[in-house]
Amino acid sequence: MIAKKYLVCIDGAWYANEYDSRQEALNEALRFVSGAYPLGETCAVKTALAVPAADLLRPHAADLGARIQSTASKRLAFHTEGHLNLPQLDSVQAFRLGNLMLDWLEANCSCTSVGTTDVELHECTSRGRVES
């Protein structure tokens, strides 16, 4: 099982470093803010769970599969001047087709290694105090 990793975002910029816990990510962000920002200045810090990009999209597999089917059907109708459309896929087929695409992307594309989810917003000051 892959350990959970966390990312931080400071004033809108996401950083590539990964941390083993949300608290560790937040602490690192506070250290950075304390050193780089004028004393007392407030900034927005986000922490988020890092997950593989393809996994992030898995919950959308059925919808992606249905969209692919719709595209294929439209292309076929165009090619046959409207004489032929494809039958709709059932939900299981659509799910499998969407996952097939995600598998392919994972294996063949330069996917960003992680996406983010479960984002939390923290308001920080250069004194390092976490407001929320």
Partner: protein, 134 residues
């Protein structure tokens, strides 16, 4: 070897299931049927088309299908990630490869596509002989 079918656009257009060796043969068969079935001096449209496996028809659209897949992923990623780019835009070669991969999935899953479709449609206008018996 290509086969051809025809359809006659009358009150209800329908496609005759008989296969013909050439487009010309399909057209002649359609004209003969129109002469026998339609009123005298009726002008109708006849379509002839090549019969082809659906996979072959969709293969012609592989780059576009792959490109669309990339668009769908980008849209889905916007909903679930705060990062601007979860999966990099596909190159043209990647789009073609993904499109082929998708079509091959259909090929491996009978029932997701009809067996055959028609392509290379030819449109012809035909008028039945005046006074010909219905």
């Amino acid at each position: 070897m290509s086969k051809f079918v025809y359809s006659i656009k009358a009150a209800d257009a329908y496609q005759c299931p008989l296969l013909h060796e050439t487009r010309e043969q399909a057209l002649e068969a359609a004209k003969k049927e129109a002469d026998e079935a339609l009123d005298p001096s009726t002008t109708t449209e006849i379509y002839t088309a090549r019969v082809a496996p659906i996979f072959d028809l969709l293969m012609l659209r592989v780059p576009l299908i792959g490109w669309r897949c990339g668009q769908y992923v980008a849209a889905a990623a916007e909903d679930v990630s705060v990062l601007d780019q979860v999966i990099a835009p596909l190159t043209r070669e990647q789009e073609r490869a993904l499109g082929r991969h998708i079509i091959n999935w259909y090929r491996a899953h009978p029932g997701t596509l009809p067996a055959t479709g028609t392509a290379d449609l030819g449109r012809h206008t035909h008028t039945t002989p005046a006074g010909a018996a219905k």
